[in-house]
């Protein structure tokens, strides 16, 4: 490639980077702004460094508690999905029966049902189980996930048949084969499922809002929404400050897991 060609690519990449970083910078800049300056352009892009919004936002809610709730719910939901999806996908791929096709279609069908249409039935189940205002209400309904089963199935199907044959000859049990052969070979797919489910759980809003009462069991998204007084207006500076410090744990997680996230996304073709 010529030098000028490289230069053009770098310029394009720099512009794309700028486009991606700009909104994040704007949130950060707004969080360090007085309300009046935040509503002026380009004033809000160059913050005058007031930390008052962080102080005010921090006092507006039990953020550590919200964060712990979100992380806990997200991690446990992810673990459950990894277990249920791995077992379901294994059964469908390696233990076929006449019902396999029907079960697969039923699992796929769960992905087509809009969440809004199952809110009431789910709510009634939660109520009858006595799980109202609990962590279980926010975890168990999402402990199995059709998309995750589908994704793991695709990966399991790509494993060489010779591995299965060798395991059969050695007299390996199904659980041992899943545990010692399939899952170690499925690390990228498991990483993808984990990220997908964790983000799904992290971003959940309506369901936690419906099944919880008060901040004790509520996740971060519900806490953030309470800062948005959409009946009359929004204090953008305080909201930006809250958004900035609540996004921090996810950014740290991303920094540490960046390599496997990028790998898993590039392998599966999923776009975030």
């Amino acid at each position: 490639m010529t030098r000028s060609g490289k230069l053009i690519i770098y310029i394009i990449l720099s512009l794309v980077l700028l486009g991606a970083v700009f909104p994040v910078w704007w949130i950060f800049a707004t969080s360090l702004e007085s309300s009046a300056r935040a509503y002026s352009f380009p004033g809000a892009l160059w913050p005058n460094g007031t930390w008052h919004n962080y102080q005010a936002a921090w006092q507006a809610g039990p953020w550590v508690h919200y964060l712990m709730n979100s992380v806990g719910i997200g991690v446990i939901t992810t673990l459950f999905v990894l277990i249920t999806a791995s077992l379901a996908a294994y059964g469908l791929v390696f233990l076929p029966s006449r019902a396999t096709g029907i079960i697969f279609v039923v699992i796929l069908a769960t992905m087509m049902v809009p969440f809004y249409s199952i809110i009431i039935p789910d709510y009634l189940i939660i109520k009858h189980l006595g799980w109202f205002n609990s962590y279980a209400a926010q975890i168990i309904p999402f402990a199995a996930n059709g998309f995750s089963v589908f994704l793991l199935m695709q990966f399991m199907r790509s494993l060489p048949k010779e591995l299965w044959d060798a395991a059969r000859i050695d007299g390996t049990s199904n659980f041992r084969y899943l545990w010692s052969v399939v899952l170690p070979n499925l690390k990228p797919a498991l990483a993808t499922v984990s990220i997908y489910v964790f983000l799904l759980s992290w971003n959940a809003f309506l369901w936690p809002l419906i099944v919880t009462q008060g901040p004790a069991k509520q996740p971060i998204q519900v806490g953030l929404a309470n800062l948005l007084s959409t009946a009359n207006g929004t204090d953008w500076t305080m909201l930006s400050a809250a958004a900035a410090f609540t996004a921090l744990p996810v950014l740290i997680l991303y920094a540490f897991a960046q390599r496997s996230i990028v790998e898993s996304v590039s392998r599966t073709g999923i776009k975030g």
């Binding site: 673990l79 809110i119 799980w131 609990s134």
Partner: protein, 429 residues
């Protein structure tokens, strides 16, 4: 055991442990409340500065009613509160009290989910309805009973950028539609659109329709055909708006973009309720003086009020109902409403006698938005209490208005369409 196997074992054990712990926590007995202490749950949308104000009112109530514990559950907005309420009603565990729009209350009354407050109001422990604004009470009345009491109410007024008005040579805010359109034209220079229209709610349009002498709903709660006619008030108001958009003196904004436009000076006129004021004052700061005036008039100078009502759900225990009635009595009392108006800096008292309280008089003298809004509250109808209105106004009517402002329909076509949709909504309600 290799590292992957170890990791998976830990993951499996952790998840199983979590399941066991969560089940154990659920099975654990919960302590009973002391028999003399009653806990009532109160779902409301009072977030941000209004949450702080409501907490102060509740603290004042708590001082005189130590045996009533209020579990305050804050929900961000209508879009979140409505499904939460509906799910809880279907599940049979609604809150004791909730904030609600009058048209939601209509649906709750139909399903016998709300307590009729009239027997309590007329009882010895009750209170007089005489000091209340009649039209606000009416919106909470169904089948001859008072099922919902107004609480957080505000009225649509006009905020204007006094500095830009002065620069454009406009000495006083417009009082007629003609002056409003002419002033907006003068103010729309340098790529600025003077009037930023918001359609987050339909009360801004309802206010203009009221000025044109119309109302969308007849007293019998059916759609009012006269307002939708080609020469009706809705088409007239929509023609005014669309002409202003066409000549560049108005612009349709998304969400609360109208507030942003006003605060950063790219629009000069903002139609909003007095409850906007705390947000607006913060956003504008000292950039320019905020002027406040009643909305311009046409056939009359009516406007629209907007706000939340309080209702008690019939699933509550007798002790909870009694406690909730006492709480509502306090919130709507002269004392409760005075604290609410002064601490919220945005909402209006729902009863006329608050204005005779000396501290309220002093307060209103220095708070223009609430003073102006209070001066028009008597001629500011509340959103219709018809159950069909909610979906019709937030979807069909809003889409029809947007279609006109986007130049895809004429005002007459849009209102003909809207009437058809209103009839369908009424028939299916």
């Amino acid at each position: 055991m290799n590292s992957t196997t170890k990791l998976m074992s830990v993951a499996l054990s952790a998840s199983m442990m979590a399941l066991v712990l969560s089940s154990a926590a659920l099975a654990a007995p919960r302590p009973e409340a002391a028999p003399h202490k009653v806990t009532i749950t109160f779902w409301n949308e009072m977030t941000g500065p209004y949450e702080v104000a409501l907490n102060r009112v509740m603290a004042a109530f708590g001082k005189t009613h130590p045996n009533i514990h209020i579990q305050d559950v804050v929900v961000p907005n209508d879009a979140a509160l409505e499904p939460k309420l509906l799910a809880s009603l279907v599940g049979g565990n609604p809150p004791t009290i909730s904030q609600m729009n009058p048209n939601w209350a209509a649906g709750f009354v139909k399903t016998k989910s709300l307590v009729n407050l009239t027997p309590f109001i007329h009882s010895r422990a009750g209170f007089s309805l005489k000091p209340f604004y009649t039209h606000l009470l009416n919106a909470g009345q169904f089948n001859g009973g008072q099922y919902a009491m107004p609480f957080n109410v505000s009225a649509a007024i006009m905020y204007y950028n006094a500095a830009q008005f002065r620069q454009a040579g406009i000495k006083s805010p417009p009082t007629t539609w003609a002056a409003f359109a002419a002033d907006a034209k003068k103010l729309s220079t340098h790529g600025r659109h003077a009037f930023a229209i918001t359609l987050v709610h339909t009360y801004p349009f309802r206010a203009f329709v009221a000025q044109g002498g119309g109302s969308f709903v007849k007293p019998n709660l059916q759609p009012n055909p006269s307002v939708f006619r080609p020469i009706g008030a809705a088409a007239k108001a929509l023609t005014l708006w669309s002409n202003m958009v066409k000549n560049g003196s108005a612009i349709l904004t998304q969400g609360y973009g109208s507030q942003t436009d006003f605060a950063n000076g790219s629009s000069s006129i903002l139609e909003g309720t007095s409850a906007f004021y705390p947000y607006l004052a913060q956003a504008v700061g000292k950039k320019f003086p905020i002027g406040v005036a009643p909305l311009p008039g046409n056939v009359n100078h009516d406007t629209a009020s907007f706000g939340g009502y309080l209702g008690i759900f019939s699933k509550s225990t007798p002790a909870q109902k009694q406690a909730a009635e006492t709480f509502i009595k306090f919130l709507t009392s002269r004392e409760g409403q005075t604290i609410w108006m002064q601490d919220s800096h945005g909402y209006l008292p729902i009863r006329g006698d608050v204005q005779t309280v000396p501290s309220a008089k002093r307060y209103l003298a220095t708070h223009a938005a609430q003073r102006v809004a209070l001066s028009v509250l008597g001629r500011a109808p509340m959103s219709p209490r018809a159950s069909w209105w909610a979906q019709f106004s937030s979807q069909d009517l809003t889409n029809d208005i947007i279609a006109v402002l986007d130049k895809k329909m004429t005002p007459v076509q849009a209102m003909r369409n809207a009437y058809h949709q209103a009839q369908q909504a009424y028939a299916s309600s």
